[in-house]
Symmetry: C2
Subunit: 188 residues, 2 copies
Amino acid sequence: MRNRAGLETRQKILDATRSLLSERGLEGTTVKAVCDRASVRAGSFYNLFDSKEQVVMAVMREAIQAVDPDPEGTGDVGVGDLIEAYISYLGNDPALARVYLLVAINGSLTDEDTARRIARHHADRTDRFVAAMRHDRPELAATEIVARVEALLAALNGYTMQALLDPSFDFAAHARRLLTMEPAGDGA
Amino acid sequence: MRNRAGLETRQKILDATRSLLSERGLEGTTVKAVCDRASVRAGSFYNLFDSKEQVVMAVMREAIQAVDPDPEGTGDVGVGDLIEAYISYLGNDPALARVYLLVAINGSLTDEDTARRIARHHADRTDRFVAAMRHDRPELAATEIVARVEALLAALNGYTMQALLDPSFDFAAHARRLLTMEPAGDGA
DNA sequence: CGCTTTCTTGAGCATTCACTCTAATTTGAA
DNA sequence: TTCAAATTAGAGTGAATGCTCAAGAAAGCG
């Protein structure tokens, strides 16, 4: 093993970047702050990463990956399972969830690649939820399922945002309640 | 009228700041960029505003105000009216909506005052929607109404975020569809 | 032990940032 | 027309940013 030390430093930098992004946002996450928190000098940073942007993107990819723990191939997953997985993820590592929203909204304005990445992830997530709802409610029409999933995910994202803004917000309870909601057909 | 010129310049600066925030986000909105777009020199900027933060806050207050056009005192407003108002606002001036989300998520991390302002606005908006839903469905229990409004607003915010990320997203159609959704009581 | 590769250091670079200041210009009341 | 206040211009400040680089320390191989 030739570069163990380098890998350890790399991890320290990633950890520092993730926590800083979560605590202070994009603007507050400077290379100096990252280096200080990681106990590393600027030279080491640029020995392992080409730019600040590259680290931020690495953390964001980490966040995207984590948003929905991968049930890879499991066919009998319901919407409830996906929601529960998301709840526990957001409870265990709120930092990553914050980073996701932060970088999505900020990065998408300036960086086209980020915008595509986020869009792609959202499409994948929608597909996953659609499959889960088809498993739960095989009697529903395809378009109906998509519409419900879109509303569900929008609400989930809205609650995530709220949790980011207000730490005392009970995300789990609100998220679970979404499970009991469904279209009435003809509304008020 | 002693300071008409100053007022015009002030407006030019506010317009430039709003559009820049919407297009490039907080980081991309520099004082130089604002001055360039407003065709004004730095000296004029600081003659009218104390700091960059002050202009950003002014635009944000504008955005908060605009998010829900004020029906001030009108008692017979339904949820549908509020949603339609929001749709037309977001359609007519997407820049302000983007600014709102942007500053809410970024500013709340660093600035405590912004965080309070956003929280307060969210509470007010919730109250408005609760009143509207009470008008539509007087038979529902208070707690039930609050729960539905919370889900509705979360979905609305989620869709807003999506519209910000993807300009081709049909916000109006999705927002209107939320009107037809309601809890099933006992879900799947 | 020697020797190459990998890693770290930390001073320092160019650039950009928000912001200041003085002098000049414009404005509007008298 | 006069004059003072309001407004603007634009060079300039210091601090902070992302990033570079030459030199040395540490690590792993023979």
